[in-house]
Structures are given as C-alpha cells and as structure tokens.
C-alpha cells in the first residue's frame, strides 16, 4: 500500500463512520452526492506534489495525520470565548458553528426581508429545500479539487442562504466557524450554499477562527450563485490557529449583468490554501476578487484563483497583496481564461508581494489563457522589500525605525483594507494588523 492510498483508506473510514451520523444521511439525493464525491476522492487521492496546481504546497503534514470526525458536543464554547470575533452590531444576523456543528446558543437571528432563508445546512437539508438540492454540489464538485470532493463526502454543516428575486438584504450576514480548544486532530468540513435569485443583493461575511493550539483541519467550500442582475459580496476572514490547517474553495457562478465580489483575507493557519473560482457565464457579468495574505513564522499560504470569461462583455478585476515575514511562504496563482466567444472581455489582475525577511519566499504566477481576439487583459506581479528611502524619510519625521517599518507595512496592507466597503470589517482588520505589527501601537487612534 502506498502512502496516498493509506490516506484515502483513512478518509473512506471516516465517510463510513459519518454515513449515518452526518446531516442528510437518510435523504437519498444527499447520500448519493456524498457517495459519488467519496468515489471521486478515492480515485484521485490527495493532490501529489507533481500536480502543477499544488507544486508549491506540500500536503505531507495533512497526509501524515489521522484526522477524526469532530465530536461537537464535547466542547463548550461561550459567547465570552468568541467576543473578539463577533461584531457588536445588534442588527447583524449571525450563525455560529463550533467544531463542525451549528450552535444556536451562540447565534443571533434578526428579522430579514420576507422570503429570505438563512439557516444551517443541516436544517435546510432536513427541510428538503428545493433550491438547495438544485444547487448543492452543482458548481464546486464537477471541477473541484479532491478537497472539494472530500468536503461533499464529509460535510457536517454550514449555511444555506436564499434571497428571493429583487430582494436586498442590507446588513451583512455573519458566519462564524469556530475551532475550539478541543478540535485537535479533527477535520471540520463546512459547506455553504449562497443563492441569490434575479436582482437579489446580499453580503456574507465568513470568519474562520481557532481558539486553541490544535492541529485541526478546516476543509470548507462555499458555492455562490448570482443570476441576472444580482449582486453577492463575500468577505472571508481566516484567523485559524497557527497550528491548524485551512483548505477553502469558493466557487461562484454568474448570470448576465450580475456582480460578485470576493474579499479574501488570510491571516492564520500553519498551512492555508484558497481556491477561488468564478464563472462569468452571461454578458455583462462582473467579478471583483481582492486578497490580502500575511505569513510569519513558518506559515504557508497559497491562493489559487481562476476567472472564466465565458461570454462577451464580461469584466473582472483582481487585486491580491501578500506580506511575508520570518520563514513563511506565499503562493499566488491567478488564472484568467477568456473563451473564444468572450469578445470585449475586460480583465485586470494585479499581485503585489512584500517580503520582510530574507528567509521569506513567494511564488507569484499570473496565468492568462486568451482565445478571443478583441479583449483588454492586463496583469502584473511584483515582489519587493520595504523602501529604504521611505524608512529614512519617516525617521527624519520623528519615527523610530521600528515604527517606520510598521507604518510602511500597514500602508502596504491598507491599500486592500481601505477598499473594503464594510466599515466594521475594515476596523476589525486594522485592529488585527496593528496587533501583528510590532511597534504599531503608535498608529492606533
């Protein structure tokens, strides 16, 4: 037996163990999709290093661990434990999950416009929601990574959001996924399905946080559907424990003149991998992808994005920035594919990286595949260090070297942060960044 098949064998055991216990086990279509996904995973196994898409990201630490299904009731998490991660806004809808399961006690529901559904996936499956069965697995699974297949096979909970045609949900809906101090050696598989109908508008904030120091694995998948004239904004804020592993996929499908925005902030985890994919499948669809990734110590953060321009006059704008310190490593792989019929595509992709130490490393790789001739596609990738002249300049204005350094790093990150439309998220991020930067206290108001 090879090492890979041992891994597959282990996850197969988890699947068998979860068959009856995981949500929707008694519902035929759910069981079928789980089974199909498990088969797909068994065929592929975890991606090998020779796989181009995983070239810079070693999965050895994940392979060598025997992750178990979570036992959610084993851990008591109180509101006090998560108060730095929730938003104070009393008008905010909040769903909290602890170690793979929904916690009603920590969640907060507020009144939403008529017809809007927000509920834990487990409940939505049992309720037999038609839109959920139509969309779940429809976007992420066909071309997803083996981790998407594993997620479908093992998904324990998550959120189903459905916004009816023409309805706007003003306040962001906050999804908080908590790994407790008891999450060590557990695999937490969340599945979110966000469905906007025509002309609907909603904003979702996904936070992933770790409270302990366990070597747990979060494997999460979010599918988003934005048909004609709709708008979906997803903020993903990843603050896992730096001993944890975080694998995430975002898969969006867009209709005509729709808008999708994905803001991907990666701060935590020993190893973090994001696959962000968007299909612009009707005229006039627009996607905006923003990302900020921070690495320190021995953190490894890998962002893979893919935008498919499938139809004419679709537009995309992507801006990812990375700050790597210590012995951390960053990967950015941004693929933009323009299909032959996608004339008048307008696409811009930028990736900027700041290396703060000699031992930090980043591998930026823009990948453009253009099969149409009347397009405007630009891209750029840079790797740089702090500007010595700027450091000296700030010192001549009274700041210490350390303060000057912190201010320059903050400025670099701030270009992404100040572009975030939600004020609360901006403040939260500024706060996180301040804490992370030594000698940044001077910057606080």
């Amino acid at each position: 037996m090879t090492e890979i098949s041992e891994t597959v064998g282990h996850f197969k055991d988890l699947y068998s163990e979860g068959e009856d216990r995981l949500p929707g086990g008694s519902i035929a279509w759910v069981a079928q999709r789980r089974q199909a996904a498990m088969n797909r995973f068994a065929e592929q196994g975890l991606p090998a290093p020779r796989n181009e898409e995983w070239k810079y990201t070693s999965l050895k630490p994940i392979e060598k661990r025997a992750f178990a299904l979570p036992e959610p009731d084993a851990q008591e998490v109180s509101l006090g434990d998560i108060d730095t991660y929730v938003f104070d806004d009393p008008g905010a809808y909040r769903l909290v999950f602890v170690d793979g399961a929904y916690s009603e006690q920590l969640s907060q529901s507020v009144e939403l416009p008529e017809g809007v559904t927000v509920k834990p996936l487990s409940e939505a499956l049992e309720a037999g929601d038609e839109a959920l069965s139509r969309h779940l697995g429809h976007y992420a699974d066909p071309e997803g990574t083996p981790f998407v297949a594993l997620n479908t096979a093992l998904m324990s909970d998550g959120v189903f959001l459905h916004v009816p045609a023409g309805v706007t949900v003003e306040a962001p809906i906050h999804l908080l996924f908590v790994a407790s101090t008891g999450a060590d050696e557990r695999i937490l598989s969340y599945r979110n399905v966000l469905v906007a109908e025509e002309g609907a508008d909603a904003t979702v904030l996904e936070s992933y946080v770790g409270l302990g120091e366990g070597a747990y694995l979060t494997n999460t998948v979010t599918e988003a559907v934005a048909p004609e004239g709709s708008r979906l904004a997803v903020y993903k804020l990843q603050e896992e424990a730096t001993t944890g592993y975080h694998i995430a996929a975002f898969e969006a499908y867009q209709g005509g003149a729709s808008e999708v925005y994905h803001h991907n902030i990666s701060l935590g985890a020993r190893l973090a991998r994001n696959d962000v994919n968007d299909a612009l499948d009707h005229e006039g669809a627009h996607v905006g992808l923003n990302g900020l990734y921070l690495g320190e110590g021995r953190q490894h953060v890998d962002n893979h994005t893919r935008i498919d321009h499938l139809q004419p006059r679709t537009t995309s704008q992507e801006y990812y920035k990375g700050i790597l310190d210590g012995r951390s490593r960053g990967v950015f792989n941004g693929k933009v594919v323009v299909q032959p019929q996608a004339q008048e595509t307008d696409s811009d992709q930028q990736n900027r990286n700041l290396l703060l130490s000699r031992n930090a490393e980043v591998d930026p790789k823009p990948e453009l595949e253009i099969f149409a001739d009347d397009v405007s596609c630009t891209h750029g990738a840079t790797i740089g260090q702090l500007d010595e002249d700027a450091l000296f300049f700030l010192q001549t204005r009274g700041m210490t070297y350390a303060e000057a350094r912190a201010l320059l790093i903050f400025g670099f990150a701030n270009e992404i942060i100040e572009g975030l439309p939600i004020e609360q998220v901006r403040y939260r991020l500024e706060d996180r960044l301040m804490r992370r930067l030594p000698h940044a206290e001077a910057m606080e108001e």
């Binding site: 010595e388 700027a390 000296f392 300049f393 001549t396 009274g398 700041m399 070297y401 201010l407």
Partner: protein
C-alpha cells in the same frame, strides 16, 4: 545652533567630505552651492543621519548635543528637519496620518502631551495656507500621484507643521517651475525668524533670488572652497564654477551638466 568641525565622510571607500567647517548661528540662513559631485547632498545626508556613510574625523554639535551620536528620529525630535530632493511616495498612508504621527513623535520626545486628531487638523489647516496646498491632498496617500510641485509643497507643509529649529533643504528647488519655487521661498521666508536657522543646498542661484541668505558657501571636492555674503551667488552666475573645476568642465556644466 550648528557647529561642524573638520567633518570627513565617505561612501564605501571613497571619501566625499574632506574636512568641512561650518558655523550656523541662531536665525541664520546659509546657502551651500557647488557643482554636481561636490558633496552637497552627502552633507545633508550625514547631518540628517542617513545610512551608508562612514564618518571619519570631525564633529558636529547641534544645540550643544553631539549630533552624530543621535539616531535620525532623535535628530528630528531635537529640531532638525530635512526637506528631500526627491520626496518619497508612501502608498496606503495618508498625509494627515503622517503629519499626526510626526507631530506626536516629536511632542512625545519632548515630554509634551500628544495632540488628538481634532487639534491637529486645526494646526495643519492653518499651516496649509502657508504653502497653498489643496485640502484634499491631506487625505491622499503621501506624495502618491502628486506632481513635482505638490511634492515640494508637501515637504514645506511638513516643515511648517514641525516648526524645526534648523531646516536643511536639499536641492528642494530642483525641477521646480517658477511658481513652485516661489512657494518654497515664501514658506522659508515666513518661517524665518531669530531662532530658526536654514541651510539651503542648491545647485542654482535662482532660489537665492527669492531667499536672501546671510552667508553663501561654495562646496568643491569635499571642502568649502569659498564663503561670502549674499552677493556671492551673483558672482558665480557670471563666472560659473570655472574657477573651481577648470574651464572644460565648466563649459560642460553650462551646456547640460544638470
């Protein structure tokens, strides 16, 4: 105010400053002129504490303190200001934020209470009238996308807000049109008083048409080759630096050395 005695400084293995002597008294304006490569910018860099210079012999005292012993930010907090020849851009950091950080760094060092945003905005807006800078530039990233003139105005605004005891302008006039040059000159003239001194480092005489210096020094080959009163630049205007560098080089200077 500032006393430089026999200052030697080198970059890597080559000596740039070869024994500078200069006394700047309270409230005096000194101009330092000289051809390219004479050591003008090195002198500014050494005084402000830029890295990369090896100080050999000599000493510099600034208000009774050993200047060379201080970190750049300590020099700033003691009242030394450097206006840059090429102001740097700082993306993501607003001008107002920079000014607030700078003012409070100095106040903290001097044991004064830090100012809050409200107090500062008042102070800064008052100083902005001095430089003719548009309010909107306060909330933009430092120097990002600023024109050459706006960048220099921004330097003057920082100077006006920090109210230094000694300001060194390192070729602040280079690349400026006449209107921007007047703004720089106007800022210096308005801030000039009995307790504040200036060192104007310039390649050209034209800045000195608007700021009348107390003394003018010509730097050549790491030495002060000549010192004089405000009339010296006009003499140089006629003769160029020919008497220093030889006729051939002077001709090159005149036809496009800059």
């Amino acid at each position: 105010m500032l006393s430089i005695k026999n200052l030697h400084a080198s970059v890597e293995d080559s000596e740039i400053l070869k024994g500078i002597d200069l006394e700047v008294g309270d409230g005096e304006v000194h101009a330092i002129m000289g051809p390219n490569g004479s050591g003008k910018s090195t002198l500014a860099g050494v005084l402000a504490g830029r890295e990369g210079y090896t100080i050999g012999e000599g000493e510099v005292t600034f208000n009774d303190k050993d200047l060379l012993d201080l970190e750049p930010q300590e020099r700033a907090c003691e009242g030394l200001f450097l206006a840059f020849q090429y102001p740097v851009e700082i993306p993501g950091v607003s001008n107002i934020y920079l000014l607030k950080s700078a003012v409070n760094a100095v106040r903290k060092y001097q044991g004064e209470e830090e100012l809050d945003a409200m107090d500062l905005v008042g102070l800064i807006k008052e100083k902005m009238s001095l430089t003719g800078m548009d309010d909107s530039l306060l909330y933009r990233s430092v120097n990002e996308g600023f024109s050459g003139g706006e960048k220099k105005r921004n330097e003057m605004l920082q100077m006006a807000v920090l109210e230094p005891k000694l300001a060194i302008l390192d070729e602040t006039d280079s690349g400026l049109d006449i209107d921007a040059l007047k703004i720089v000159a106007d800022a210096v003239n308005r801030l000039r008083d009995a307790n504040r001194s200036f060192i104007l480092i310039t390649h050209y005489q034209r800045l000195l048409d608007y700021i009348v210096p107390d003394q003018v020094h010509v730097l050549h080959n790491g030495h002060i080759a000549k010192s004089g009163g405000p009339e010296l630049p006009q003499e140089l205007e006629k003769t160029g630096y020919a008497w220093l560098t030889g006729a051939d080089e002077a001709a090159a200077e005149a036809t496009g050395g800059q």
